[in-house]
Symmetry: C2
Subunit: 417 residues, 2 copies
């Protein structure tokens, strides 16, 4: 007997409860979450997630970069599973929804299928990708990038945080250096639910964003070397001020991104070496993040940045500026079949929706280079993310999870009994 | 029998040895010194200094802010002593000479008088002032400021470092909360030898700077509150970027100081709260240091800064900027009699010299408000200070110490036997 699935819904209250239950792992006073990848709080949420997936009947395996794969069997185990999920790590002052919604909604999809006694034709597999955020170790989305071969596993294992701890050591510290090879768990497709992290859906009062593209990302590590000297006795004309130099770069990044359509540019980190209020800053390390969904715009952003830096370095005598492009992710164009599956599921559920470009990078963008992938967005309050004030409604989270459920059902197929 | 003093010289090699012997307390790999006030390394050098002064026959007393006073008796103990000295704390990446030269040259003056068997008429008193640098606790020169009554002792004791440790607790931690009241050790005059910390003497090939004035200092604590949000998904027009805001302030400080004659302006500290490369900085704490030897110029610097900050805050919607003037030290005009004593001693020793303005603040500038004071400068290499590369020659250090010796002798008088 074929099971009817057209009216199937996830359990909105249960999903909401799991989001708030896991928010205690690294929960902050302001209601946000600080759960840096591979830290003690990340271990707590990973242990919780493993137990929950096993309780839901999944077999959980961990790859050598710590990404977690929870497989729910299908009727035809010769078929590769449909992948669904996101990540459970957060920014240093992150929120309760970024990554968490997509991972726990995937768990909720499995629970809802279990409750309804539905067997899919192909298996499905929930994923918790290691280090999506990139705030402890660079690059962001490092595990999915290694999964698709953009980096070697050894390269990623050797990356260090600001305390000099490597990814490999951090994995061992929390006992999450798993047994299966990176890339060995294959998928027929990958679908990721996420909060928008931008203002568009809320502004247009849409429930679902059918994500058809993602911005490309340029990440730079920069260093300015001037000369530390006394703030009182060094005449203005003889200064080699690293902070004044950085200030010109910050404003050039802002000015160039403003001048190009649909581009953004940010200096997110800037650390003065040995700062003191009466010492001219002599050395500063900084980072730049620039993005666009248009490849030509990305080329222009990179060229204009390099021109600005060269001009500043020439004009400010005795100040050296180095700029290393540490990540160059081209714009993403998601798979048309998966976009169509998301759109069809959304329509069948009657949710308001629009096509949308992802401003942020996501593991699904990496996966899309090797398999059909797409994403589902739901609104977040005021477009705020990477912030403790990040918020989303229970209804929107549930709507997103229902679209995820029906997209996965259409991709995996419902087993005929 | 009156002792002839006109040919008296300090022991150049002994002075040079003590400078290098104490440089090991907090010595850095690059040849500098990291000896933050009231820290473990400061205790080491204080203990060394106390032992050396006592070995030279001085009685050492410590006031309730930790400043150390080493008294060498004179013939007429009814007279207040001539004060000479400086400080032994350093910047976080400081050098071997800033403060140290003036303090150890004062010790060398006592040792030279001892060797020659010379008794002065008035007593003399070597001082090691607590926290001249101001990099651990604000304000700089806090002990001499409290000595002259610019701050109450309780206020200074309550000041905290960035770890929340108070001056009082730090004094207790190294057992240097002394018994005598701040201000109770009086002086007839105060003379401070110091490296120039600027480029003028070296450029003009002069050995001695006869310091007749000092720059006034304006110190501000600032805070910018914008809003943390996602670097990828927040459109440029909707950003409240604290670092871009700071960058405009930094460049305004630089521009305004360049435009005024003999003014300097520096943003020395800037700390982003919870920095991450893909998060727009939402909050930054920073400091500003502006100086001039001209009171009208200081007024203009303050006014132009406030105008620039107001304009930036108005133009950048949703970004709040606070600016607190935490220290306003007027320009110093040293005492003409003491300046003349320094100049006469310099001439009698045959050293090349010039009048000079101090770019940096010094304890002698504070003391000059309550007693006759002046300073002696010697060249430092490339004008570099507040830097591990800070350097000076043995010959110049000895010349400065000889000028200090003969200035003190003329102020204290040589006892008739």
């Amino acid at each position: 007997m074929a099971t009817s699935t057209s009216n199937l819904q996830i359990d909105s209250a249960r999903l909401w409860d799991t989001i708030h239950e896991t928010a205690k792992f690294g929960g902050t006073k302001k209601g946000g979450v600080r759960r840096l990848t591979l830290g003690a709080e990340d271990k707590q949420v990973r242990d919780w997630f493993r137990d929950a997936c096993e309780a839901a009947g999944c077999e959980v395996r961990v790859d050598t970069l710590g990404s977690m794969f929870a497989l729910r069997k299908g009727r035809d185990m010769s078929k590769p599973p449909v992948g669904l999920g996101s990540h459970l790590d957060t920014q240093p002052t992150g929120g309760k929804f970024d990554g968490v919604l997509g991972t726990l909604a995937a768990l909720e999809v499995v629970r809802a299928l279990n409750d309804a006694g539905i067997e899919t034709d192909a298996p499905i597999c929930i994923v918790n990708w290691t280090n999506e955020e990139g705030s402890r170790f660079a690059p962001a989305m490092m595990a999915s990038a290694a999964y698709v071969g953009d980096f070697t596993v050894d390269d990623i294992l050797s990356r260090k945080d600001s305390d000099g701890i490597s990814v490999g050591d951090a994995l061992d510290e929390i006992s999450y250096r798993g047994a299966i090879a990176v890339g060995s768990q294959t998928f027929s497709a990958f679908v990721e639910l996420h909060i928008e992290q931008g203002p568009l859906l809320e502004a247009e009062n849409k429930t679902i964003g059918v994500v058809d593209s993602g911005q490309g990302v340029l990440w730079y590590d920069g260093k300015i070397t001037g000369f530390e000297s006394h703030a009182g006795s060094t005449p203005m004309a003889l200064r080699r001020d690293a902070l004044a130099t950085l200030s010109e770069i910050v404003l050039a990044v802002e000015r160039n991104a403003r001048a190009l359509p649909n581009a953004v540019g940010t200096v997110g980190e800037a650390v003065i070496a040995s700062p003191s209020r009466n010492v001219i800053p002599g050395e500063i390390a900084f980072t730049i993040d620039m993005r666009s969904a248009n490849a030509d715009t990305m080329t222009a952003l990179d060229r204009q940045l390099r021109e600005a830096v060269a001009e500043i370095a020439t004009r400010r005598k005795g100040v050296d500026i180095t700029l290393d492009l540490v990540w160059n992710k081209p714009p993403t164009h998601f798979n048309n079949d998966i976009i169509a599956a998301v759109e069809t599921a959304t329509r069948s559920l009657g949710y308001s929706h629009r096509r949308i470009t992802s401003g942020a990078g996501h593991d699904a963008c990496n996966l899309n280079t090797k398999m059909p992938a797409a994403m589902i967005f739901v609104p977040c309050k005021d477009g705020v993310s990477h912030n403790e004030l990040e918020d989303a409604t229970q209804a929107d989270c549930a709507a997103g999870a229902n679209v995820l459920l029906h997209t996965v059902l259409s991709l995996a197929g419902v087993a005929a009994s």
